[in-house]
Symmetry: C2
Subunit: 512 residues, 2 copies
C-alpha cells in the first residue's frame, strides 16, 4: 500500500508510532499496536529507506485521511529526509525475533546471550512496543533471571549506549535507596577523591523520594552535562557529582525503567543489571553498594538484603567490577535534613566543620568511604573508616568539594547560610515529654513531598530529635519549609492527621 | 496545578490520555504513564467534574505549551462540556485499587470476585493503562486463573456491557478456531432455526484467518446491527448471523483482546471467560462448542482439547449455560473453499442442493447442529444428526436461510453464480500423479491471505483434492482468486516457493 506522508507536530517521546486512517488499517488487515514495515522509495540512505513502526489508528479522520500516513516529530527528527507528501510503501510486518524471546521468558525458559542482546537492541530501536516490554518485565518479575542472564543483560544494556573510560581504576558508590535524608554521597565523593581515587559519581534525580543526590548537589552546582564536558570535569578533579540523565549511558535500561515505574515493578532480574550497567558504562572497577534494610526499603529483613548482596557481587564480578556491599540501618533518616536545599546545607555544614555532626551522617558516610579507601589500597583492612574520618576532619574533603563545585560551574565559596529555604515555615513542638521509641520514615517522606520536594529545592523538613532521645514538652522537634503557603498547609495537615513522624513511648511523663 | 484546556484534533481510540508539557509534568512530579486526577471547576455534571487520566508528555512544546493541558477527541466526545481555554485543576493520582489486584495476580495469588469486578470496571473506565493490562494478561498467562476466578471474570465482563434477553431458551454454536474454510455456522444456524429453536449467532470477523463467519455472511447480507435492530431481527426469524462488533456486549473483553492480540497471548484464564461472556450477554442457555484439534489450532493433541472442554463446561455451567463440546478434525480445510465470497458460495450451494456436498461440510455442520437439536428436545439422544441432515436435505434450512438473509437486509433470491470472484485467477495442476497424504493448512492460509482475504471478499482459494484422494498428472488441484493482479502474483509465488499445500506421498507414479 502506498501512502502519502503527513507530518504530525507532536513528539510522543517514547514510541515509534505512525498513524493510519482506520480505512487503510482495515485494508492492510492491521490494528492498533501491530507492526508495519515501511519503505521510503525516495530515500537513498539505507537507514531511512526501511524501518518497522508500530501502528496507531485514527478512527475519526481528524488527523490522517485515507491515503495518508501520519508521522510524529520523533521520527522526523531521526529520519531527517522525510517530508510532507513523500510516498511511503507500507505492509504488515511480523514481530521481530526478540518478540519470540520475550514469549520464551513468559513460558519460564532461560534466555541465551544472543536472545537478550536481541531484546535489548529492539528495545532501543523501538521495534518492541511498550506493551511488549510490560509483558517482558512482568515475566521477569514472575519467572526471574539467573546469574548468566543478568550478566548478559548487564553487558547488553551497557553496549546500547556510550561507554566511558576514566582510566584503569575507577571507584563508585551506589545505594539501593529507601532511607530519607541519605545525602552520604555528598560526603563520600570528596573524601574518596581527596585521597586520590577517581570517582565519577553519576546519580539519578528523586523518583519517589523527596530528594536524590543529583537534586541536592544541584543546589551547590550545575549537574547536567554531556559526555565531553564530563570527561573534562573528571580529568581535572578525578571526581564529579552529576545527574546521569543527560548522558547516553544504557538507554535500553532507561526505556525499561520508564515502564517499570508506572507498573511499580522492580524485579531483581532487572534491578541488578540496571545498577551495574550504569557503572560499567562509566568504566567503574570498584564499587561499594549501600543496602539500607528495613521497612520502606526494598529489603524488609537483613536476610533479604544479604541474599541480594551475594547475587549482586557475583554479577558485578562477572562483568569485571569488584563490589562490596554494606547492609545499613534504615529505621530513621540519616542526619536531620530532608529535601534538596536542606540536605545540601547539612552536607556543606559537616564538610566545613566536623564537630557539628550529625553523627549518623558522619558514621554512615565514613563507613562507606572507608570501604572504598581500603579497596583502593589507601588504608589497610579495617582502617578505612579512620582514614575517611581523618580526611573529613582535616578539611581535605571540604577543599576537594569546593574544587568539584568550581569545575561543575558552581560557586566554591558558597556558605550554608547562602542556601535559602522556605520562605513559608512551620515549627512543631512536643505536646508532652517522653522518650522517642521510633521515627516513621513514610510520614516524613509524605510531609516532605507535600511541601514541594523534590521539584522545589527550598522546601523540605528538619527533624530535631530522633530515636532514643528524651524530649521535654515544648521542645522543638520538627520544622517544615515550603515555597508555597498552600503546600505548607497541606504538609501541616498531614502532620496533624498522622500525629507526625516522631513516636513517643516508654517513660512518658504527664503534666499534673 | 491549574491548566488551560487545549483540544487536540486526534482520536487515539484506546486510551484516556491527556498531554502535559514536560515543564508542567516535572512540576507535578509526574512522568508519562502516570495517572493524574482532573477536576473541572466549571462543570456541574458530576461525571464530567472529576476524572482520572493517564499522562502523556510533550517534550517539544509542539503540541501543548506550559500552562496547557492537551485533551484528545476521545475525551471531548465523552465529556461534551469541555472546551478550549477552560481551566482544569490537575494533581497526581494514586493508581486505582484494581492496580493492587493486578499485582496480587502477578504475585501468584487468587483474586476474589470483588477484586475481579474492580479490575474489569477500571479496564472499561480507562483507569488501568495498556501497560497495566499487558502486565495483567502476562500474569494470567503465567499464573493462571482457577474456575472460581474465571466464573467471576465471565460475569464481570458481561456486566460491563449490554445483556440481551431473547427468551428462556436460547441456543448457540461457537468454535475455538484454527481450521480453514470452517463455514459451518452458515449451515448450522438455518438448520437449528428451521427446527424452531432460537439461535442469535453473533460472530467475529477474521483476526488471523482468511475469513470469519461474519465476513462470509456479509457476502449474502449486511451483518452490522445495533441492539434495537438485532432484537427486531431475532423476534422475526428466531435467528441471525451477525457481526458482534457493533453491539456493546462485554466491552471489557474487547479491550483485553485488543492487547492480547498484538502480544499474541490468549491465556486459558481469559479465553474461556471471553467466549462465555459473549454468550451470557446474548442470553444463551445452551451452547455447542466446536474444538478443532491438531496443528495450527489452539489444541495440538486431543488431550489438550479434552482438558479445555471439561473446564469450559464447568465455567459455562457456573453462569447458567449448558455447554456440550465436540472435538473435531482439523488436519485439512472443511469443504473446498477458503475466503469470504468462496465460502458463502459453497454454503449457499449446499443449502440449495444437498447432493453436491461437500461431505466434510455436511458431516461437520450436521454433527454440531444435531447436538443442539438434541439439547433442545427436537431429537432423541443420538438422533440429532439425522434430523439435521433431514432438515438440510429437505430444503427447510435453505428456506430459513433466505428469510434470515431477507430480515438482515440482503437479497433472499441470491444465487451462487451471483457471487462474483476474482477477476484475477490462477489454476494449479498436478505436476505428477500420486496419492495425497496430507494438506498443509498453514500454507493455505498464507496463500489465501496473500490474495487479499479477508478484506477482499472476492479473493480466496479453492482446493479440489484433499487427503486420501488419488490424483493424476495434469489434474486441477488448486485455484487462486484475487481482485489484484499484484496480489495474485504474490499468492502464486508462495505456492511455488512452498510447493503448495497438497502433499503427495506413497504410491507415487513417475512418468516414464
Amino acid at each position: 500500500m502506498k501512502l502519502k506522508v503527513k507530518t504530525i507536530n507532536f513528539e510522543t517521546g517514547n514510541t515509534k508510532d505512525v498513524v493510519l486512517n482506520i480505512k487503510d488499517a482495515q485494508k492492510l488487515g492491521q490494528k492498533a499496536g501491530d507492526r508495519i514495515y515501511i519503505k521510503n522509495l525516495e530515500s537513498k540512505n539505507i537507514e531511512e529507506k526501511y524501518w518497522i513502526a508500530i501502528l496507531q489508528v485514527d478512527y475519526s479522520n481528524s488527523l490522517v485521511e485515507p491515503g495518508e500516513i501520519g508521522i510524529f516529530l520523533d521520527i522526523i527528527k531521526e529520519k531527517t529526509a522525510l517530508q510532507n507528501d513523500m510516498i511511503l510503501s507500507v505492509k504488515p510486518a511480523d514481530p521481530p525475533d526478540s518478540f519470540k524471546f520475550i514469549q520464551k521468558k513468559i513460558k519460564g525458559n532461560k534466555l541465551t546471550t544472543e536472545e537478550i542482546n536481541s531484546i535489548i537492541s529492539d528495545t532501543v530501536s523501538g521495534s518492541l512496543s511498550r506493551i511488549d516490554l510490560a509483558a517482558f518485565i512482568t515475566a521477569v518479575y514472575i519467572n526471574g533471571m539467573d546469574n548468566e542472564e543478568m550478566t548478559s543483560l548487564t553487558y547488553a544494556e551497557a553496549r546500547s549506549g556510550e561507554i566511558f573510560n576514566f582510566g584503569p581504576d575507577v571507584y563508585d558508590k551506589h545505594s539501593t535507596g529507601g532511607v530519607p535524608g541519605n545525602k552520604v554521597s555528598l560526603i563520600i565523593v570528596p573524601i574518596v577523591a581527596a585521597a586520590g581515587l577517581t570517582i565519577p559519581k553519576s546519580s539519578t534525580r528523586a523518583i519517589t523520594s523527596p530528594s536524590g543526590t543529583a537534586d541536592s548537589m544541584e543546589v551547590l552546582a550545575p549537574v547536567s552535562f554531556e559526555a565531553e564536558k564530563l570527561k573534562d570535569i573528571v580529568s581535572k578533579e578525578n571526581a564529579c557529582i552529576i545527574w546521569g540523565g543527560a548522558l547516553n549511558t544504557s538507554p535500553a535500561d532507561n526505556i525499561l525503567i520508564e515502564i517499570e515505574r508506572p507498573l511499580r515493578m522492580d524485579p531483581m532480574g532487572l534491578m541488578i543489571p540496571s545498577i551495574i550497567t550504569k557503572k560499567l558504562s562509566l568504566g567503574v572497577k570498584k564499587l561499594v553498594l549501600d543496602i539500607p534494610v528495613g521497612d520502606g526499603t526494598k529489603f524488609i529483613t537483613p536476610d533479604n538484603g544479604k541474599q541480594f548482596a551475594y547475587i549482586f557481587k557475583e554479577i558485578a564480578k562477572n562483568v569485571g567490577i569488584q563490589a562490596e556491599c554494606a547492609l545499613t540501618l534504615a529505621h530513621q533518616p540519616i542526619g536531620h535534613a530532608i529535601g534538596p536545599g536542606l540536605e545540601a546545607k547539612e552536607a556543606l555544614t559537616l564538610l566545613m566543620d566536623y564537630s557539628v555532626g550529625p553523627n549518623s551522617l558522619i558514621e554512615k558516610a565514613t563507613d562507606l568511604a572507608g570501604i572504598l579507601l581500603e579497596m583502593g589500597g589507601k588504608a589497610q583492612k579495617g582502617m578505612g573508616q579512620n582514614l575517611a574520618k581523618e580526611i573529613l576532619r582535616s578539611g581535605k574533603a571540604f577543599e576537594k568539594m569546593k574544587k568539584i563545585i568550581r569545575v561543575q560551574g558552581g560557586n566554591p565559596e558558597i556558605k550554608p547560610e547562602d542556601i535559602i529555604l522556605g520562605p513559608h515555615v512551620k515549627e512543631f513542638f512536643a505536646a508532652k515529654s517522653g522518650h522517642i521509641t521510633g521515627v516513621n520514615n513514610a510520614i516524613i517522606n509524605q510531609i516532605a513531598k507535600a511541601t514541594g520536594c523534590p521539584h522545589s529545592k527550598k522546601s523540605g523538613v528538619e527533624i530535631f530529635k530522633k530515636q532514643g532521645a528524651r524530649i521535654k514538652e515544648g521542645d522543638l522537634i520538627f520544622k517544615v519549609y515550603s515555597e508555597s503557603q498552600n503546600k505548607l498547609k497541606k504538609a501541616e495537615k498531614i502532620y496533624n492527621s498522622t500525629g507526625g513522624p516522631i513516636i513517643l513511648g516508654g517513660m512518658m511523663i504527664e503534666r499534673i
